[in-house]
């Protein structure tokens, strides 16, 4: 059961958090001496009564990042006994599915992800489009992937298919044998090399409150440090104790759509990215296909109506010019496609400091894919007057006869706008220091920040400054955004990182190099579904 503390700064739920927070003092807990010490000795840990578990490789997180890294290592010949995945999640896709489901991509809908980005298949072959065509005995997806993006929208896989395939691969690599349930708040360097990772297992699962995993290698893939509300929305919710009418797209808000089906209402949607697109599609589908009488007011802070780039320039360089119209910046995927292997990946790999931050800025900015279906819906909504645009910010929000009175601050002045619901689709991400484990690494583990403020990793995804004797600490995913490789917070990005990490570990003697022979023989096993 996912829980969200309504007063918390993040909307991101911790699954079963109540089970991991025993309030009674118990044996084998962290001591002040431990918490104050940057380098731990075996004796110091033992004296706190915390049992030590030896395993060479530990991955913290247990989401897609841990999964693809473990997948690479298993394909590289590492036995399950050599790997432990420390996680509060039962399944690697759990958090991802939560986020996609509430942001209106349930299993039957399509993600925003390329056909060859397969977390369950390190080769990306056959791609999702090929598999879907084979499964459905319908070549339509093959045709789409052939003519995309010129003559059709980019092919993207259905969320449910992605999760099913990850489940299949998890069974194949015996993921469950590697999983150790619990929360991790501390990773410290060990005097003599390697690391201690402190796990808090579910209450009652172990005799002691904590377990210490002593490992040569640690991998962190803890996902988003947190997802925040817009500060003005958070203030309204807390002040007026109203968590029903003002919601974030990343929290469960099905009750809003249910109300809209029964009562003609006005909804204010804030944000201009993929989540706003998905929420709009849900609102418009409900109106056009199921008879809801919803009026949508869509508030853009930045209104894009032509060529653009991430710096907000309306006259971008001819070589860095993104399409845009009607408020949106259009881009097929989270990043320009060539960050996952092409020109932009090669360029970024050479950049440092301010130059790298500037490059991130140019290719960044909120954007969403151009999909023909959404364009039709929006056009119809504009023509019939039930989809209205506004440009600006919200000055204040007050309750007003059961509705919410917004004062919209626009270039033409301040206007009142009364709505029944507000859906925040801005997707603000919290600072990495709001994640306890990452903060501890910044304070005590030697980790530092990169030019855009996240964890500073090297080209092999080693967390700079954290080396401990013969041990290495790696990090991948969203918390490392801003490094030599952009696109870390995507399926393919996690696989790029996993490939670098696996290759680095193989050089150090942990697992085997995946050359042509191993790659081919392992692919054949993948294809036939043979468990490894």
């Amino acid at each position: 059961m996912a829980v969200i503390d309504p007063s918390a700064g993040t909307v991101f739920p911790t699954p079963g958090a109540q089970n991991y927070l025993p309030s009674q003092p118990a044996a084998g807990d962290l001591t002040d001496a431990l918490l104050a010490t940057d380098w731990w000795t075996d004796e110091l840990v033992a004296s706190a009564g915390i049992p030590i578990v030896d395993v060479p490789f530990v991955s913290v997180g247990g989401g897609i990042g841990s999964f693809v890294t473990a997948d690479y290592l298993r394909i590289g010949g590492v036995d399950t006994s050599q790997i432990r995945i420390l996680s509060a999640l039962d399944h690697p896709w759990e958090t991802y599915e939560y986020l996609t489901r509430v942001s209106q991509i349930p299993r039957g809908e399509r993600l925003r992800s390329d056909s060859a980005s397969r977390p369950d298949n390190i080769w990306g072959f056959p791609s999702y489009a090929v598999s879907e065509a084979w499964r459905s005995k319908n070549p339509a997806t093959l045709w789409q992937v052939l003519v995309e993006p010129t003559f059709a929208d980019f092919y993207t896989p259905k969320a449910g298919f992605v999760f099913e395939q990850i489940e299949r691969e998890a069974k194949r690599i015996r993921y469950d044998e590697m999983l150790a349930k619990g929360l991790v708040r501390v990773v410290r360097r060990r005097a003599g090399g390697g690391y201690f990772t402190i796990l808090t297992p579910p209450d009652g699962a172990t005799a002691t409150k904590r377990l210490a995993f002593r490992s040569q290698y640690v991998h962190l893939a803890v996902g988003y440090p947190g997802l925040r509300f817009l500060p003005d929305l958070q203030a309204y919710r807390t002040e007026h104790n109203d968590y029903q009418h003002v919601v974030n797209a990343y929290e469960s808000h099905e009750h809003v759509y249910e109300r809209l089906m029964t009562t003609p209402s006005t909804v204010l949607v804030r944000g201009g990215g993929i989540v706003a697109s998905r929420v709009l599609q849900r609102l418009m589908d409900d109106r056009l296909l199921r008879g809801a009488q919803t009026t949508i007011v869509h508030l853009f802070r930045t209104f894009i109506d032509g060529p653009n780039d991430g710096t907000g320039s309306s006259t971008p360089h001819p070589f860095m010019k993104r399409k845009g119209a009607d408020g949106w910046a259009y881009q097929g995927f989270n990043y320009p496609k060539s960050v996952w292997g092409g020109q932009l990946k090669a360029e970024m790999r050479k950049l440092e400091g301010a130059e790298r931050a500037a490059k991130y800025k140019v290719m960044g900015g909120t954007n969403t894919p151009y999909r023909r279906y959404w364009q039709q819906q929006m056009n119809q909504g504009r023509q019939e007057g039930w989809y209205q645009l506004a440009i600006g910010t919200v000055d204040s929000m007050t309750p007003h006869h059961g509705r919410i009175l917004n004062q919209l601050k626009t270039a033409q002045g301040v206007y009142p706008l009364e709505v029944d619901f507000v859906i925040d689709c801005t997707g603000l991400e919290a600072d990495i220091a709001e994640h306890r484990l990452l903060k501890d690494l910044l304070d005590h583990g030697g980790a530092g920040r990169n030019p855009v403020g996240r964890l500073d990793v090297d080209r092999n995804f080693e967390l700079k400054g954290t080396v401990s004797g013969n041990g290495v600490l790696y990090a991948s995913g969203s918390s490392t955004l801003g490094g030599y490789f952009p696109g870390v917070d995507t399926f393919l990005g996690l696989q790029v990182a996993a490939q670098e990490i696996q290759a680095d570990l193989a050089k150090r003697g942990f697992g085997k190099r995946i050359g042509t022979v191993r790659s081919t023989s392992q692919w054949l096993k993948w294809f036939s579904g043979k468990q490894i």
Binding site: P126, V130, K321, P336, K337, G341, G342, S519
Partner: protein
């Protein structure tokens, strides 16, 4: 996932030499017009040399695209412009090492078989054999 200029040139040379060379070896005896190996391998070499120049042109065009990509379909349709140029040069007789003219049917069948085979191979099965290739801009070395 998408190649760099360097990777595209490397992949093209590798594919035409290895796969193209093998296919030419196998199909030359059954091609229409009864060509000899010296003729078909000369045509293959011409496609390869001109191809490197084409890559430079595509790279220039790609700069105008935000994604810096070259859609899969383009890779297939490039057979038209590249094939035409090779054919024109063959007709003009400026390709060195050819004693006689190349029949159109010989050229068409050979060129298209090799093109389609390499296009399919690079868009899929190639990844089975080299897991680093797709993330490193299509570079092989």
């Amino acid at each position: 996932m998408l190649p760099t200029l360097n990777g595209r040139i490397q992949t093209r040379i590798f594919m035409l030499v290895v796969l193209g060379g093998l296919i030419t070896l196998l199909i030359t005896p059954v091609l229409p017009g009864d060509p000899g190996y010296s003729m078909t391998y000369t045509v293959l070499a011409t496609v390869l040399v001109l191809g490197v120049g084409w890559e430079l042109a595509y790279h220039g065009l790609m700069q105008w695209r935000w994604e810096k990509d070259w859609p899969t379909l383009f890779g297939l349709l490039n057979a038209i412009n590249e094939g035409l140029l090779v054919w024109v040069l063959l007709e003009l007789g400026v390709v060195p090492g050819l004693d006689s003219g190349v029949p159109l049917s010989t050229f068409l069948v050979m060129f298209l078989v090799i093109w389609v085979f390499i296009w399919i191979w690079t868009n899929g099965p190639m990844r089975i054999f080299n897991i680093r290739w797709r993330f490193f801009g299509g570079r092989l070395v």
